[in-house]
Amino acid sequence: MSSDIQDQDSDLDIDPDPDPDADLDPDAETGATPCAYTDYRAGKAADDLPATGAEATGLESAVWDALYEIEDPEMPISIVDLGLIYGVSVDDEDGVATVDMTLTYSGCPARDMLTEEVEEVVVAVDGVEEATLRLVWSPEWTVEFVTERGKDDLREFGLSV
């Protein structure tokens, strides 16, 4: 899965070190919440993210437009609105475009599919001679990086964000 957004909304309060001697009732015999899930909402926002290319001009703007057309493999949302793109820069001299991108999950089985698609789409932009994709992992992606439009798309898809 390339996207791992959860459609629930609650705060878990998990005791990291449950007391094994505690006299627990049967429903809580393990001392922890069953079916725990990752609450991405807890993630911290980064000042310059999400990057959307709103300020970009010229060739960079054209690259952003192309990236907007790429959808996440699992959900009808652009990878830009999902917040996966951390930056785009194009060297006007030699036409080399560099894209910084992350993934929501390190174990994403669509990684190669997605990164190859990004490279193909970017290099196809008029004026781009070469595309370099850098996978980056910091700051860690959180749901805070989804744009307002992306949140609308996800809500329409049936996720509560």
Binding site: P34, E120, W137
Partner: protein
């Protein structure tokens, strides 16, 4: 020339000492994750409940993702997935023997206990990598930590349930007696990569403590193996004892525990020696690659024109 932690070279300018330290560290990290995941997948349709099938499958997927993140760092040294996994000499793998041991059919206590022993160690080593002098290492830590947090909790929940039943606790004890020595190898020094120097894994047990010292001196990791091992013991021993399990280790909590050579298994993984189970596992996970006569690990079809 000696480098201080804050002046580790850029990827293109690494000297021999830096290259060897970086390669040694990333291989021990990645190989642990990869091989553990290979073993976990054996449980994903055999665990005692559907939820634990899913949990083991999910943990395996997490560990494979983390293995890929660590192998990716070695891209800076020119290595790709093919050289690092599918065409690598099995003697060059540097994982702890804990993660390669085979499971006895139906012994659910084993993956639970193994996961606990491993995940405590992983938490500690991730903390010691958060301020790594190599940015690509430090940048990965938070991502991995956020995906790891449930592994240890899952293991502890099951340990406590199993320890509550006499027959299950006996099974845990037997498994602990078998696994504990192998878990200690998590903190053993590595032989350098093959061909790196005279102490490389070309000769079994030719451990070069200098490489492990370099990993810390160069700031790649901010704690020594001894420090990590002692901290790990100070967590796992009292916890396991609180479950009425006897931990096969000398010493006590007041004076610290002592890892003696006698406490370690004959094969330690890190030094290039492995138990027989490793050869079988390696053969298994490389079989499809070999049978398909593949020379590229991931591309399924040619890129479109």
């Amino acid at each position: 020339m000696a480098s201080s932690p804050d002046e580790f070279s850029e990827p293109d300018d690494l000297d021999e000492r830096e290259r060897t330290a970086l390669e040694t560290l990333c291989k021990r990290l990645a190989d642990d994750e990869f091989v553990l995941a290979e073993r976990y997948t054996e449980w994903q349709v055999r665990a005692p409940t559907l939820e634990s099938d899913l949990a083991l499958a999910n943990n395996a997927q997490d560990e494979l993702g983390h293995a890929r993140l660590w192998y990716d760092v070695l891209g800076d040294l020119g290595f790709g997935e093919r050289e690092l996994v599918y065409e690598r000499d099995p003697d060059d793998f540097r994982h702890s023997t804990l993660v390669e041991r085979p499971f006895e059919d139906g012994n659910w206590a084993d993956p639970v206990l193994r996961s606990y022993l491993y995940d405590v160690a992983e938490e500690l080593r991730l903390e010691a990598l958060a301020d790594s002098s190599y940015p690509k290492i430090a940048d990965r830590v938070e991502k991995i930590q956020s995906e790891e947090s449930y592994h240890r909790e899952h293991a502890q929940n099951w340990l406590e349930r199993l320890a509550d039943d006499e027959e299950s606790r006996e099974r845990l004890q037997t498994t602990l007696d078998e696994l504990f020595a192998h878990a200690l190898t998590l903190f053993e020094p590595c032989a350098p990569p093959r061909g790196a120097n005279e102490a490389s894994g070309d000769k079994p047990r030719a451990v070069d403590p200098g490489v492990e010292a370099d990993i810390v001196d160069l700031g790649l990791r901010t704690a020594t193996l001894e420090e990590l091992g002692e901290e790990w013991l100070s967590i796992v021993v009292p916890y396991l004892e609180s479950l009425d399990l006897a931990v096969p280790i000398d010493g006590d909590g007041d004076d610290g525990f002592e890892v003696t050579a006698a406490a370690l298994p004959d094969e330690r993984g890190r030094d290039g020696t492995h138990t027989d189970a490793w050869a079988e596992l390696y053969d298994e996970f490389t079989r499809t690659y070999r049978e398909l006569g593949r020379d590229e690990p991931t591309a399924i079809m040619d890129a479109p024109e």
